[in-house]
Symmetry: C2
Subunit: 363 residues, 2 copies
């Protein structure tokens, strides 16, 4: 058992101890945790990430609902306790099914069990990965001249260079990327580029962009998984590598950028672990659509609604985003990053990225 | 340029030559290809896969539409020709955008360009991978004691053991898995298990199933990509490894099995490359839901419609499927493979799979 797991075990044991203490005193057991609702989410201008505010919620065993939640908490901590001791892990889906045997503590939907896992993170300050709970898929891939040393199934350390030791699609990021099982040697990498689509990720690899520019590519694969955001954060924080994000040019892609840079509402309790506030947006911007005369699609009603919502989202409240979001609404158009192929397969690496990155002072 | 690419180039050149020959004779150019519609799909009982029938369609430059298609074919073959010579590749999405510069041959949607890529496969008998066209994502992963030797970006051969040389999530399958760039050494593997969900794939890895049973796991990640199906086919055909498929128990998962075993309608022109007719279905079956008393969900109207359609689908016209599909309709229930976690995290590897696989004569 390593330090992270010991901390997780201690934190969970502490939850149980408090319940026992309440009972010993003859009190009805309660649990206090930050209110996990939109009302209690604040954008912290100091750290530039989303965090929970000071509002608390108290769960008491006085009501049936409160008692059920506390019963579920007890079963869940017991389950996690067993997993850590036996060196097992479980998907969030499996935990939901495991609860079939928990009688009245049984979850009625996976939303309930996922929420409880997040509650435990909030209470203990640990991450669900420390509790050995993982999502169905991770999916992110990395390509570039950096080395990751990971534990194989047989418990041996294995170092992989993310150019020399991988097929052309790169290195598969596991669900846990903390230092106890995942070591990073940044090699000659000078910056990190997170990319939304698999097509563009493959394009930059094929065109030799990572080697030419000492750049590590991270494929976000849509809205990025926690391990992907955590890896980007570690590359930025521990190795001082600048991070740029390259996505499609539409409101949903802007949100992908925001979740990398500032954190997401759902994971506000661990923004400090996941968010990279210094990450910069390369494109596709509304200005790019004009300046590079890109093929576009019309904004849908949903796109327009999302852009308007972003105008009041504190994560986008600076001059850059205000200008870009209004420009996109004005022109009523969006564009994909692969639309740059209009000018040929090399245009993105020969022209677009060098121009944009030099404006940003990265290259 | 390797043999596959030379064959692809020759086939494409041949298309152009035929058009020139027509023009030299003073004829209006035409192109003949199998009719790619549901009417012309046949289940070939001999090879047990879906194939196109004998109906042909003729495209003539006499009509505007026919002439446009032939113009697009000319531009596309030229584009592919360039890619093969310059050792580049392109996503299907990029090809769509590239056509922005093709004047009247411009594609109006990606459906049009995808269809043309499939037409070229049908006419030439090559695969779109030989034309250097690839999808956005591949995504499949492999774990087990077998070795893949692949070309790295730098053109060097690299051998990877899919247990010792990979993180716990396994080896990332590239989009091209033909022998010219992807060598297989099956090691001690005695059978292949294709798995629908990432959660179950991770469960079997964590529980040590591949090592214990000399089994190679392939994560299908939903409806499997072409490269995934091709890899399974190669493992089966070239190394005589039995293939079993382990999915959720619902009509959509039955179709995932069918696409691995018998081919899909969309790719009927390359069923010989992609389908593995001897693949067997492990579960979750309707009988499993009863025998193992699994947690279930009610069938939706769409589920019921899909099951009824399968009753008349020749791919499912044997006693096993007829019984299972009717049983599922009768009980009006479906179940996920992770529902086996009801009995604990080890149940699937200690009890369920050994029981099912020994019934099938695999273990």
């Amino acid at each position: 058992m390593n330090d992270r797991q010991k901390t997780a075990l201690d934190s969970l044991t502490h939850i149980a101890e408090e319940v026992y203490a309440d009972l010993d005193r003859g009190d009805i057991p309660t649990m206090k945790l930050p209110l996990r609702s939109k009302r209690n989410i604040e954008f912290d201008p100091m750290t530039q990430v989303w965090k929970y505010g000071s509002m608390k919620t108290v769960r008491s065993a006085k009501t049936t609902q409160g008692a059920t939640t506390m019963l579920r908490t007890a079963y869940t901590t017991d389950f996690i306790n067993d997993m850590i001791r036996e060196n097992k892990s479980s998907t969030l889906r499996e935990m939901y099914y495991i609860s079939e045997g928990w009688n009245r503590a049984k979850f009625h939907s996976q939303d309930e069990s996922n929420l409880l896992a997040e509650d435990l993170e909030t209470i203990t300050g640990c991450m669900r990965e420390d509790f050995k709970l993982r999502p169905e898929e991770s999916g992110a891939q990395v390509f570039g001249d950096l080395n990751f040393t990971t534990l194989t199934k047989k418990g041996k350390w294995k170092t992989t260079n993310c150019i020399d030791d991988v097929p052309e699609n790169g290195f598969n990021v596991p669900y846990k990327v903390e230092d106890d099982t995942f070591k990073i040697d940044p090699g000659n990498t000078t910056f990190v580029m997170a990319i939304e689509t698999g097509g563009m990720y493959a394009r930059l690899i094929e065109n030799g962009f990572p080697e030419k520019c000492n750049c590590a590519l991270v494929h976000l694969s849509g809205q990025p998984a926690r391990s992907t955001r955590r890896l980007i954060k570690r590359l930025n924080e521990e190795f001082k590598l600048p991070v740029v994000v390259f996505t499609d040019g539409d409101p949903w892609s802007f949100r992908i950028f925001a979740s990398v840079a500032y954190g997401a509402i759902k994971t506000a309790h661990i923004s400090d672990y996941l968010a990279t506030p210094t990450a910069q947006f390369v494109g596709i911007t509304a200005s790019d659509i004009l300046n590079y005369d890109l093929p576009t699609d019309k904004l849908s009603d949903k796109d327009i609604g999302a852009l308007k919502a972003e105008l009041t989202d504190p994560r986008f409240s600076d001059e850059f985003w205000d200008t870009e979001i209004r420009a996109m609404l004005d022109m009523n158009k969006k564009a994909e990053q692969q639309a740059l192929a209009k000018y040929g397969l090399d245009y993105v690496t020969d022209t677009y990225l060098p121009e944009k990155l030099s404006q940003m002072g990265i290259m």
